[in-house]
Point group: none
Chain length 219, copies 2
DNA sequence: TTTATATTCTGCAATATTTAGCCAATTTTG
DNA sequence: CAAAATTGGCTAAATATTGCAGAATATAAA
């Protein structure tokens, strides 16, 4: 999904050699109609019709599909901005096709890891743990150091999003399954979570000023 | 991009043999209009219309594209100066075409290495390291020798810019995503960074008088 | 329907960050 | 060495971001 046909050709070749199947879209509008059938997306920051950033935002309203951004060095665009917007990784032109493939594989490894984590082999099915925090996905119960913390469904979903990428800072609109709510609303949920966990002397969420929030170390 | 047509011919031959594609510009002004489509640039220090140094500065206002300088021995221009100004490498005439090609390849290897470094095989994806300095891009956390240093977003972005080209001196206006702010503002950010890193006995930024700043050796 | 609970939003106060002016200290230049 | 240019650190104002207390709305339970 790059505006420059020749780059697309190179990408297609490299990805197909790595046994991915590739669909192309020459601009953001087309991309939006196709992304449902894809496993991941490579977006050029600069695209005709709709730029990569807008396209990413649109996609993120509906889906958490992995997105990798491409940009030229002179695009005045950097990793932070890319991540803020909801990208999973970011690559600057020029890059080697080999590196692109490596990045894509890394994204898959990462998301695959998560999915495995939720059904680990040791019988503790359906619970995800990170430090003292544990989320029971079936019972929708959160515990801290084995003590139950009663939270609502939205609050649980926010924690679920966090625990899926425990080291990552999320922007607000990434935290609620792409539902469009005001930033203050998210703050509100975060506030409630903090208050509830404070009752068991736990700090679960750090704020990342200018970006959003991040799961704390949970120790 | 050399003023002397015969040298250009030799360079073109050597580079094309090494499977690079070459665009020529007979002076700095022309070079400025062409550099967008290039992967790297070879600049002669002495060029008609606009000298190599000025051209490099102009290019550096927009791009971090690799630049290699050529100079004659009697140009009163030395390696240090070339690198400080924003060059990535520097070659004195006379030189063998083979050496030029080797240098160019080295530049590519270096920049590629960097990019790879950000997805190392050990699972610590999304962090860039240089010496004791590490930037966790996803978490937006800076560490020195594994100690967390709390910095703001702009400060983080400045470090990110630095670590992308750790040997290069940057002009102030290159450091903040092209945002137009006064030079004093940059100084201020740099000052804050220095103070914060001083608390863990670290020196992260050197000043390059008359140019701007550069990442320190980070040892 | 009524009641309770959960969710979202609004507006404002509290914080944190960014910016720029000032001037002394430092470095470079002539 | 003196003059000019540049930088560092301080300050304070301007901006931007976040936290929080209701209030309004939606949803579920009784």
């Amino acid at each position: 999904m790059d505006d420059d046909a020749s780059i697309r050709k190179v990408l297609r070749f490299a990805l197909e050699k790595a046994e991915f199947s590739v669909i192309e879209a020459e601009n953001g509008e087309v991309a939006l109609t196709l992304f449902h059938s894809a496993d991941f997306i490579v977006l050029d920051v600069m695209m005709p019709k709709m730029d990569g950033i807008k396209t990413c935002a649109k996609i993120r309203e509906h889906s958490a599909i992995p997105i990798l951004f491409l940009s030229s060095q002179d695009d005045e665009f950097d990793r932070i901005q890319g991540l803020e917007i909801g990208g999973d990784d970011y690559l600057t032109k020029p890059f080697s096709p080999r590196e692109l493939v490596a990045r894509v594989k890394a994204i898959f490894r990462r998301t695959a890891d998560h999915q495995l984590e939720s059904t680990p082999p040791d019988g503790s099915e359906g619970t995800i743990k990170y430090g003292k925090l544990a989320l029971d996905l079936k019972g929708v119960i959160a515990t801290w150091d084995s003590q139950v913390v009663t939270i609502t469904r939205s609050e649980f979903e926010i924690l679920e999003r966090f625990i899926g990428s425990p080291d990552r800072a999320f922007r607000r609109n990434e935290l609620m399954r792409g539902q469009v709510v005001s930033d203050r609303t998210i703050d509100s949920h975060i506030g409630h979570l903090r208050k509830k966990f404070a009752e068991v002397d736990a700090v679960v969420i750090d704020t990342v000023h200018g970006i959003g929030y991040r799961l704390s170390s949970c120790q």
